[in-house]
């Protein structure tokens, strides 16, 4: 059997795919932003002296890291919705992605915070900085600089993970691909194009992350 490739259908429906890319990027960006906030607060809890907060964070991290994202998503979308507030598919997708990324970010940022030497904090105190300044300037910023590679590769993983939310019909890139496939039956062409777009998105993000690294952490060059 010979097969004739017809990428024409992709060209004819490029608006659909662009729309999908838009939601993929929006979901990823929001989940990363919100997840980072979760991660910073979570890492603070995790390194605090309060045992209950520490335990709570340990349960959160292990629960998320040892279950598949798909099940987390279905649990939030169908499970939680069946009890109380009905979530839309996009809202549920964003919530699930944020909770997922937050857990990984917590663990990564915790490692960063623990990499900061106690003497740095003492040096900050002797310079007369207050507690918030010490946390922001002496602990958090160098901590993020130390874990920057791990954090950005986790962000790439999140971008790829966002394809899973197509399973609850959030209209991102993979959903649009599935829709296109079911209408045109050009299975290979559609998924090949999707794979290509994801590779380009991931590569683009990696390049962007490298550019930002030079911008954000100028202070590391003096060390």
């Amino acid at each position: 059997m010979t097969y004739r490739f017809q990428f024409q259908v992709i060209w004819d429906n490029w608006e659909l795919l662009i729309e999908g890319v838009g939601l993929t990027l929006q979901l990823s960006a929001l989940a990363i932003g919100l997840g980072l906030m979760v991660g910073i607060v979570g890492a603070l809890f995790r390194t605090s002296n309060n045992q209950y907060l520490q335990g709570l964070m340990a349960v959160y991290i292990e629960a998320i890291r040892n279950t598949p994202f798909l099940v987390q998503l279905l649990f939030i979308f169908f499970g939680i919705s069946s009890l109380g507030p009905r979530l839309g598919s996009t809202q549920a997708a964003l919530l699930a992605l944020t909770i997922n990324f937050g857990a990984y970010a917590t663990e990564i940022i915790r490692a960063g915070i623990q990499s900061i030497d106690q003497s740095q904090i003492e040096a900050g105190m002797s310079l007369g900085l207050n507690k918030r300044q010490i946390f922001r300037l002496v602990v958090l910023k160098p901590a993020i600089a130390n874990i920057y590679p791990a954090l950005t590769s986790q962000m790439v993983l999140l971008l790829l993970l966002s394809s899973v939310v197509s399973q609850i019909s959030a209209k991102e890139l993979t959903f649009m691909g599935n829709f296109l496939r079911s209408r045109t039956f050009r299975d290979f062409e559609v998924y090949f194009t999707l794979a290509l777009i994801y590779v380009l998105l991931a590569l683009g993000f990696k390049l962007l992350a490298q550019l930002f690294h030079h911008r954000l952490f100028t202070f590391t060059r003096h060390i």
Partner: protein
């Protein structure tokens, strides 16, 4: 039709987990073999092999696992092959596993100081002796913990095989939900089953890391 009790649901999910375990075992073994070949290509002195291995890794790590499943199921049919969900799930997950394991092992090999290569060369060993007798035995020790940790990733990855109609744990959960209308309970139990499988593996990986550290 009879009603499902909560106990029935739990047993049905536990019974469905066997497909998850079977699929991840097969993919882990096949992916391990393919990953080892990728590793040999990546660290070989022959450049083209190196680039092929590198390109494969970038493409696989740059695409979502879900797309790999969909490509393996819907995409393969253009070759004129009628492919079952079993075969395509195995194929997709093997591809995914091989890329990541190859990368983990490459990291372990590259963490061995260059002096080890030079010393074994000075003992007039050939390339394969250097690799087999000096480098790999040391690299294996360093890669055991992350390899075990990655097994949990593979098990979690099998859940996406549900998208191509492979009935494993996550798919069974959806099927059961459609009958019982109890998504909260069903998905909670499903998550607990996954956790019960993955958590011991994660703990073992952490323990091994401490145990095998120099």
């Amino acid at each position: 039709m009879r009603d499902f009790s909560h106990l029935d649901i739990i047993f049905a999910l536990l019974w469905a987990a066997r497909w998850t375990l079977l699929l991840s075992t097969i993919a882990f073994i096949c992916g391990g073999i393919a990953g080892f070949i990728l590793l040999l290509m990546r660290i070989s002195p022959f450049r083209p092999l190196k680039y092929v291995s590198w390109g494969y890794l970038e493409i696989v790590q740059g695409t979502p696992l879900l797309i790999q499943f969909l490509l393996a199921f819907f995409g393969i049919s253009i070759l004129g092959i009628d492919i079952s969900p079993w075969m395509s799930a195995t194929l997709a997950l093997t591809t995914f596993t091989s890329a990541y394991l190859g990368d983990i092992w490459r990291g372990a090999v590259e963490s061995i100081p260059a002096g080890q290569w030079e010393a074994s060369k000075a003992l007039s060993m050939n390339y394969f002796q250097q690799l087999g007798l000096v480098i790999l035995p040391q690299a294996v020790r360093r890669s055991i913990a992350p390899t075990v940790g990655f097994l949990a990733q593979v098990i979690k990855g099998t859940s996406l095989a549900s998208a191509i109609g492979f009935v494993e744990l996550a798919r069974s959960a959806t099927n059961i939900t459609n009958v019982t209308f109890e998504p909260f309970f069903v998905y909670l139990v499903t998550a607990v089953v996954y956790f019960a499988i993955c958590f011991p593996i994660s703990v073992a990986s952490q323990k091994l890391e401490k145990f095998l550290a120099y």
